[in-house]
């Protein structure tokens, strides 16, 4: 039924409404549960996400919604719903072409060269905060392409994780609209997608190489199991973390990586002030953080 009631008009609270202490409490609660922290300049984002959920559950004020987030029996489910809403992000396949060039022309050859010495011919990539799988499938397609040409006899796997259960489910489906595939080069389009009526489905030849799992990066016990990785991709995920959670997560990433491994952030994210263990390395048009081999690591670095 169309609803023209004043509640609809009030959906977007006036600016002073943002300073409602209930919003602060919701923000702190989200932080406590997930480590995702919305700084003041991101507050409008938090409020708009909460409003989507408030409408869904019928909460009229942030105070009422806070009850949904704290009182049994709804709290766990609702917190997950809210986190889903917060972490849902717009992304596309082959999003950063300079990064893809760097991967194909510099990073993968360099990883292979370093690993060849140990005669271990498998590459393991981790797409951390994979959202709906665009980056994960992009990586798999690139690795598939490389292992069919320059890196014959090599195998690989892409581990893709995300906090958001709904994203993980969608990632597993591997079906994208034409907007999400707009950057995919035609030869990749032909080889690695099948067109359905209105969408594009990731080909079966790619799927076995990618595993999607739900993972909270702040869950230390789970993060400890991530080891032996060659390259980690964590794009626009840490930006929501506060300093402490970021440091902790990056520390886990560092330990998960093999020596000479790479850590890629979003195109305008920096680890400055978080850790000095990684070396910032430059490629044409992109950067990454590199974990030095034992001889090159900085003694006593934080």
């Amino acid at each position: 039924m169309p609803n023209e009631s004043p509640q609809v008009a009030n959906e977007r609270p006036p600016v002073e409404g943002i300073s409602d202490p209930a919003w602060i409490r919701i923000r702190d609660l989200i932080y406590h549960v997930s480590g995702i922290f919305q700084a003041e300049n991101k507050f409008y984002f938090l409020v708009s996400r909460c409003q989507v959920r408030m409408k869904a559950v019928g909460a009229r004020t942030p105070r009422e919604y806070l009850d949904f987030l704290t009182a049994l029996p709804s709290r766990d489910a609702e917190m997950r719903n809210l986190l889903n809403e917060i972490t849902i992000g717009e992304t596309c396949l082959f999003r950063s072409l300079p990064q893809i060039d760097a991967l194909r022309k510099i990073v993968i050859p360099s990883l292979a060269e370093a690993k060849k010495k140990s005669s271990y011919t498998k590459l393991r990539f981790w797409s951390a905060g994979c959202s709906t799988g665009e980056e994960s499938y992009t990586l798999a397609m690139i690795l598939l392409e490389e292992t069919q040409t320059r890196l014959k006899d090599w195998t690989f796997e892409v581990m893709a994780t995300d906090l958001n259960e709904r994203s993980v489910a969608k990632a597993r489906e591997g079906i994208y609209n034409d907007y999400a595939v707009r950057n995919v080069p035609p030869e990749f389009m032909r080889k690695y997608f099948t067109q359905t009526e209105s969408n594009f489905r990731v080909a079966d030849s790619v799927r076995p190489f990618v595993t999607f799992t739900r993972l909270n990066m702040l869950d230390d016990s789970k993060m400890l199991f991530m080891r032996g990785i060659d390259a980690i991709f964590c794009c626009n995920v840490l930006i929501y973390f506060d300093g402490k959670s970021k440091t902790r997560t990056v520390h886990h990433f560092y330990n998960a990586l093999l020596a000479n491994g790479y850590f890629f952030l979003g195109p305008s994210e920096s680890l400055y002030g978080i850790t000095e263990k990684f070396h910032l390395v430059h490629f044409p048009g992109s950067t990454a953080y590199w974990k030095p081999g034992d001889s090159l690591s900085k003694a006593g670095a934080a």
């Binding site: 060039d101 760097a102 022309k105 510099i106 990073v107 360099s110 305008s268 994210e269 920096s270 680890l271 400055y272 002030g273 070396h279 910032l280 390395v281 430059h282 490629f283 044409p284 048009g285 950067t287 590199w290 090159l296």
Partner: protein
């Protein structure tokens, strides 16, 4: 470079009478700018701009370009100069006057590519110098601007060989100086030095031209060479290079030039290099605008 090769190069450059001559405007300009920024004589710069109708027109065109988004059209050279600021006017003056060094048909590296790189390096050199609190930021700028003049020399004195060399570098995606060394036996740093000396440019700038690829012993060239070396690398990695892909990974914090600068300028240790790099993309945009103004069809 070995002395013998340098002698032969010198003989070759002077004997074939193809040595580019210093542009008329360049010496007074260098003189005018070779002093602290606050002492630069604006009237003198306006005068120099007005000498050359092409440059004057470009200043006006640039002041009216989208980059500056003026509500009122700029018509006089003086207003254009004031609106653009000394830095951009100087960029225009230099790129124009240096462009006259070789005839249009003799360019081997496309002029837009060459200037995008040279002006980009100049800009980054100045930013670096500011961060370091290096006492002469304008000198750093000039060093960046002039560092590759050897490319002009090579285009003049050995056009066929240099064309083949540049094609080889592009095709094999290798650094230009590496390709030059293997095919010509000398690099644009070597030939640039010969030209810089002939032009009687100050010795520290000559060194920056000569040593910007050979940073083996940073003590030899001092901070200016290290600044140019690092800025050149950064520009080549941020879309202000020689126009071809160079598949390389640079760990700046472990580059000899960087380590040398950190030792002498503690400010550098605190630089957020990632952020500095993101900022370069903004410069690339500005330099692109400037180059398209200078080389726009007239």
């Amino acid at each position: 470079m070995r002395t013998g090769t340098l002698d032969r190069l010198h003989a070759r450059i002077t004997s074939i009478d193809a040595m580019p001559t210093i542009p008329v405007i360049l010496r007074p300009l260098l003189h005018c700018l070779d002093q602290p920024a606050e002492q630069i004589d604006v009237d003198r710069i306006v005068e120099l701009v007005s000498y050359d109708k092409t440059i004057a027109a470009q200043c006006v065109r640039m002041a009216n370009s989208a980059l500056f988004g003026r509500s009122q059209p700029v018509e006089s050279v003086r207003t254009a100069v004031m609106n653009l600021g000394m830095w951009r006017v100087r960029d225009l003056l230099f790129s124009n006057s240096l462009s006259q060094v070789i005839p249009a048909h003799r360019w081997i590296v496309a002029p837009t590519v060459f200037w995008r790189h040279s002006l980009g390096v100049a800009l980054v050199c100045r930013k670096f110098a500011e961060i370091l609190e290096y006492p002469d930021t304008e000198k750093a700028y000039l060093a960046g601007l002039l560092h590759d003049i050897g490319i002009l020399v090579n285009s003049m004195v050995a056009p066929d060989e240099f064309r083949a060399t540049f094609q080889k570098a592009t095709r094999e995606q290798i650094p230009l100086d590496e390709a030059e060394q293997s095919t010509l036996g000398f690099t644009h740093s070597d030939s640039g030095r010969v030209l810089a000396e002939a032009w009687k440019i100050t010795p520290d700038l000559v060194q920056a031209v000569e040593l910007h690829h050979e940073i083996g012993d940073p003590e030899r060239g001092g901070p200016l060479v290290a600044i140019v070396h690092l800025s050149d690398l950064l520009c080549r990695l941020r879309d202000m290079g020689y126009g071809y892909y160079e598949p390389r990974q640079i760990d700046f914090a472990n580059e000899p030039g960087w380590l040398y600068l950190v030792m002498h300028f503690p400010n550098l240790a605190g630089l957020d290099l990632a952020r500095f790099t993101f900022m370069l993309d903004e410069y690339a945009k500005e330099v692109g605008e400037l180059v398209s103004t200078v080389f726009a069809p007239r």
